[in-house]
Amino acid sequence: MFAYIVRRVLYAVPILIGVNLITFALFFVVNTPDDMARMQLGARRVTPEAVEKWKEERGYNLPLLWNDKAQGLQKATQTIFFQKSVRLFVLDFGYSEDKRDIATEIRTRMWPSLSLAIPVFLVGLAVCISFALLMAFFRATYLDVWGVVACVAMMSISTLFYIIGGQFIASKLWHLVPISGYAGGLDAARFLILPVLIGIVSGIGASSRWYRTLFLEEINRDYVRTARAKGLAESVVMFRHVLRNALIPILTGVVVVIPLLFLGSLLSESFFGIPGLGSYTIDAIAAQDFAVVRSMVFIGSVLYIVGLILTDISYTAVDPRIRLS
């Protein structure tokens, strides 16, 4: 098990290097620092001096991959690739366009993100599993049929409508909660309850339908028939046999997203004005702040790989037949 995890972590290194190369190519080769400078400074007051100054302030005046002018090892380190991309590996993110330290910004912004994403994830999972179990229990009745119809209909609505509609009804019509904003401490609940609810509701359609299929697949197995033949009550069969076995694919499917919760939800955060990492990213995209976008891409891929490793470990935790080697 330990050896397996070490191997997986080592395997992650080439992937991260690949991610780094892709982002480097996207951000510096396709789009040279001169282009970025012109874009940031605006088209009108661009002089070659201003571009040079902009590049020097941000350390973009170095060569891309290889510095001929430098000495010894510095030929490789005094380059944009080393300074901006390789440094991400030691979590040195540099500074954003408004000269703030990105690492500090991430540390303060991760808490609002997590306080929105964790309730959505946990409560959402519980709601979807219960709903799917209900449909599976009453399979082939009207409840099941209309449940599936509702799921398909809910899947067909864009998240944007849930957010705009929810905000309009709860905040503008009924004045239940503030439209947007955020406060520290326990006061945050007032601002979080609506985005959490919307996050849960918008996820019900797709997840419940998928879980229902998993349950129904399990219900047709032989061991379930045996359990019924032994004379167990249908509820015992559902909870003790079907639910526990169907949890294996469900858990392994959701474990991969757990680390990504950290990144927050892009849409909800920016609509509700929650100062988390999701709105940070959206603002950076809108302001074309490449340093921030680059850092978020890197963090996102690290978290994804962590999620993959956690998935493998969770297989062994829920299914004793699987041994990692």
Binding site: I15, F27, V30, S156, V293
Partner: protein, 461 residues
């Protein structure tokens, strides 16, 4: 850029038009091919036997019809002097625009509510005597034919009735046609198809009848008819949903099958590529690529002689980026299936006979994974349509000048927070998008049930 001149106008073929018509040709060719091969026609016959499948197909056909009319572009000739070379307008129109010329040209000043005759906000008006008052002004076009606004109710009712009559006639025509011709194929649920058609006609008839005199769904901030915007947005959605598939299909199929068939280092490399691509959060990768391409487009204004070509290129690029970042799921599915298939006896036998790899791949592997490809194509469609809206909101979607549901929703966000609120843009975008995505989802389900051998086995037992 190909241009075909016929005197009073020139045909313009935009890049996405070309791909759309190519896609139509591919689908037509595939249909003919299926008809001649019973084993390919059988799963499709199962799809057409499902009532929700047929009903959603009717809705999809209606959407596709509007999209195709909107995919034939032309430039009208400007009235010029005799003898001089004809000059053409820089505005690129589509056949749909010509059909809806009543809707397109009749812009108001700004917001107006659905079926309104007066503006939504008070504005400064000059009375004949020179005095100025603030009041709700009469609209330039909406209800302008009414001399007395008291006739409004009767006029609207009359138009709705006229529209309903048209719908009824059209429906009866289809009904008789289906009853006569449908007898040949009694296993197809004609009634559910007719039901969907009936609902569509019921909505479309009055809407078009009213649109000649009013703005059925109101106007937006710049006074454009919202009904017209919604109809124009259909093409964008369809292009995103289909062209993206056209991009991801060759990549996903080729890499997935190769990884599963050749194994060894080929498999390692392909797996490495898709794990790397997968590990970058989707929206961020797309956002980064689109931002970069925006710079490229801005640097080369000489590539595009018309504004329409520029926004069209951006739409195409968005499809390409979406496609190149989302082939990984299909490749992984196909890799697994190919791994399983290449262990089977008939593949081993082909190897033993010395059949070349390319032939084994094209004759034995590809036909046997085609059901996965078809299911993936129809399942992905609705996802791409929804993704477009989100990307346009983030600011990395289609060009703001392109009509799209994402752009409409983005505008609606501000409209919902103004006082009094403007609700009709959001409601229209919601209805049109919901109908499209719901139909696509239902059709995808029918296709999956028809093609997936596992589902078929469950039904049989």
């Amino acid at each position: 850029m190909p241009v075909f001149s016929t005197g009073s106008f020139v045909w313009i073929v935009l890049a996405t038009d070309l791909l759309v018509w190519l896609l139509v040709a591919i689908v037509a060719g595939y249909t003919l091919y299926c008809r001649r091969h019973p084993h390919l026609a059988a799963p499709w016959a199962r799809v057409f036997r499902s009532p929700p499948g047929m009903a959603s197909l009717v809705v999809l056909v209606a959407y596709v019809g509007i999209g195709l009319l909107d995919s034939a572009h032309l430039r009208l000739a400007l009235p010029g002097k005799e003898g001089s070379a004809t000059a053409y307008s820089t505005e690129v129109l589509s056949v749909l625009d010509l059909g809806l010329s009543g809707l397109r040209g009749r812009g108001e000043k700004t917001y107006s509510a659905p079926l309104a005759t007066r503006s939504y906000a008070k504005e400064l008006m000059e009375l004949p005597g020179g005095k100025q008052v603030r009041d709700f002004a009469r609209l330039r076009y909406g209800g302008a034919h009414l001399k007395d606004e008291g006739e409004w109710g009767a006029d609207v009712a009359g138009r709705v009735l006229k529209g309903l009559c048209f719908s009824l006639v059209a429906f009866l025509l289809c009904f008789v046609l289906v009853k006569l011709l449908g007898k040949a194929k009694p296993q197809i649920p004609w009634n559910s198809a007719l039901g969907a058609l009936g609902v569509l006609l019921l909505l479309a008839g009055p809407a078009f009848a009213l649109s000649s005199g009013y703005h059925v769904l109101g106007t937006d901030k710049v006074g454009q008819d919202v009904f017209y915007s919604a109809l124009k947005s259909i093409r964008t959605s369809l292009v995103i949903g289909t062209i993206t598939t056209l991009v991801l299909l060759p990549v996903g199929v080729a890499l997935g099958i190769m990884a599963g068939y050749f194994r060894g280092w080929v498999d390692d490399v392909i797996q490495y590529v898709y794990t790397t691509l997968n590990s970058i959060p989707g929206v961020l990768l797309i956002a980064a690529s689109v931002l970069m391409l925006q710079v490229v487009i801005e640097r080369h204004p000489e590539w595009f002689s018309l504004a329409a070509q520029r926004s069209d290129f951006r739409l195409l690029v968005l499809c390409a980026i979406l496609g190149l970042t989302s082939w990984t799921g299909l490749a992984r599915l196909l890799r697994g299936e190919t791994l399983k298939l290449s262990q089977l006896e008939y593949i081993q036998a082909a190897h033993a006979f010395g059949v070349r790899d390319t032939r084994v791949l094209s004759r034995h592997i590809l036909p046997n994974v085609s059901h996965i490809v078809i299911i993936a194509v129809v399942m992905d469609f609705s996802g791409f349509v929804l993704a477009e809206a989100v990307l346009s909101y983030v600011g990395v979607g289609v060009d703001p000048s392109t009509n799209s549901f994402g752009v409409m929703i983005n505008a609606a966000r501000l409209e919902m927070s103004r006082e009094p609120i403007v609700w009709w843009t959001l409601a229209t975008a919601f209805t049109f998008m919901f109908a499209l995505v719901l139909a696509a989802n239902l059709f995808a389900d029918a296709v999956r049930d028809g093609f997936d051998p596992r589902v078929r086995m469950q039904v049989a037992t």
